[in-house]
């Protein structure tokens, strides 16, 4: 049974938002850095050397 002395007080939306911000900001920073690293996969790809072909006019 709930303690009657413990009065109901709803958690404020601002408090919830701040709590999520505290963990989201470092995570976003980490994802951003990983994204920058991941982008290298597409910017540092070499095209395979084309097969030697003879001019065919």
């Amino acid at each position: 049974m709930a303690d009657p002395a413990r009065t109901e007080k709803k958690s404020s939306i601002a408090l919830i938002a701040v709590a999520w911000l505290v963990v989201s900001l470092p995570l976003a920073w980490g994802i951003y850095n990983t994204g920058l690293n991941a982008a290298k996969l597409f910017t540092h790809l070499h095209q395979p050397a084309p097969a030697a072909t003879t001019p065919n006019h």
Binding site: A19, G30, A39, L41, A49
Partner: protein, 458 residues
Amino acid sequence: MSAASFLDRSRSVARPGFNRWLVPPAALAVHLSIGQAYAFSVFKNPLLALHGADGAVWNLKEIGYIFSIAIAMLGLSAALFGKWLETAGPRKAMFISACCFGLGFEIAAAGASTHQLWLIYLGYGVVGGVGLGLGYISPVSTLIKWFPDRPGLATGLAIMGFGGGAMIGSPLGTKLMAFYKAGGHPAIPLTWITMGALYFIFMMFGVFTIRVPAEGWKPEGWTKPEHQSALITSHNVDVNTAVKTPQFYFLWLVLALNVTAGIGILEQASPMIQDLFHGQVSPAAAAGFVGVLSLFNMAGRFIWASCSDFIGRKPTYMIFFALGAVLYFFLPLTGTSHLDSVVLFVLVAGVTISMYGGGFATIPAYLRDMYGPYNVSAIHGRLLTAWSVAGIAGPLIVNGILDHYVAQHLPREQAYPLILHIMSGLLVVGFIANLMVRPVAERFWMKEQPTDAVTAAH
């Protein structure tokens, strides 16, 4: 009232009106911190370059033991302290985890400063490893109790944090070392001192925010479904009894095989893509591939665990094993000798790694379904020994086969089809193990049903 009593379970019971959405950030604060362990590799080269007063240096193998000890201690401490955690409550467990994890960095910093490797083993490995194990399991049962309607989503959020922690730990470590080095200071000791303090403070946010639900609490407007899968029990099984059930060992296999297969790719991600696409993928692009896999790993933890709330835990693992077996078999065919498609390779590898992460994140909810919420953290802790075993087995298989090919003067790229097909076979075994999971027999149920899982642990 002493300050220490603040950590007691009774002091962390939520007041009426407390919003349960404050609990996932508390869990994330811990998991985002301890996930740093997976970014330890950024310290490898700087540690190799450290010289002792007598000019002594450490080799790669010696440095490799630091991470191995930490992960072994994670599994060991999760298995040993899980039962204690159920009675002590998440706040005390998180606090001790924060102390161990932060202190581990400080001891390791002393080791790096004085060039004593045993101090780093003791600090980052043993003390920090206990912090990892306690931190990993501490929010699990609390989240499951707060989110009886969406246990997969809740635990997925927390365990996603462990994947995200590496993404924070890697650039943080690199940038701090660069900062101290630029100032002419000893980079590793000061970086570890700073990281220990930062992570301790960040984890304390979790300690102060975490709450356990009051007796009889349930989400507003939510009632327990009358008809649910036979695999979702309305009973509880004590941890000591749970380990005597065959389901525990099937689930242990499920986790171990899923992790072993995932590590098969993660362990060799960078060299594998360079070998399979020789001349097309530069080392920098391969590093990018590792980054892409990290993103898939983290996203998979949240997405698959959340999906499991709708499709069920057993079908979720059926997808992991069936789809995974097909994709692992197909993966080598994307290389230059067959389809020659880097994009397809990255996509297929990404999906497989998302299921690797999903396996970690979905298992706590699977355990809750099978054994009830009463001892779920403790049972989860025991099951994590599968992770430790897979962490050894996966690299052993991969490196053993690669070493054999190198010793026989065979091209490395020819080893990958064999490696990936073995992983595919392991996933087929995992599929069978998951298929064997049946509801826990009545004789294992707790005779006296706790009126509430929260108070029952007292």
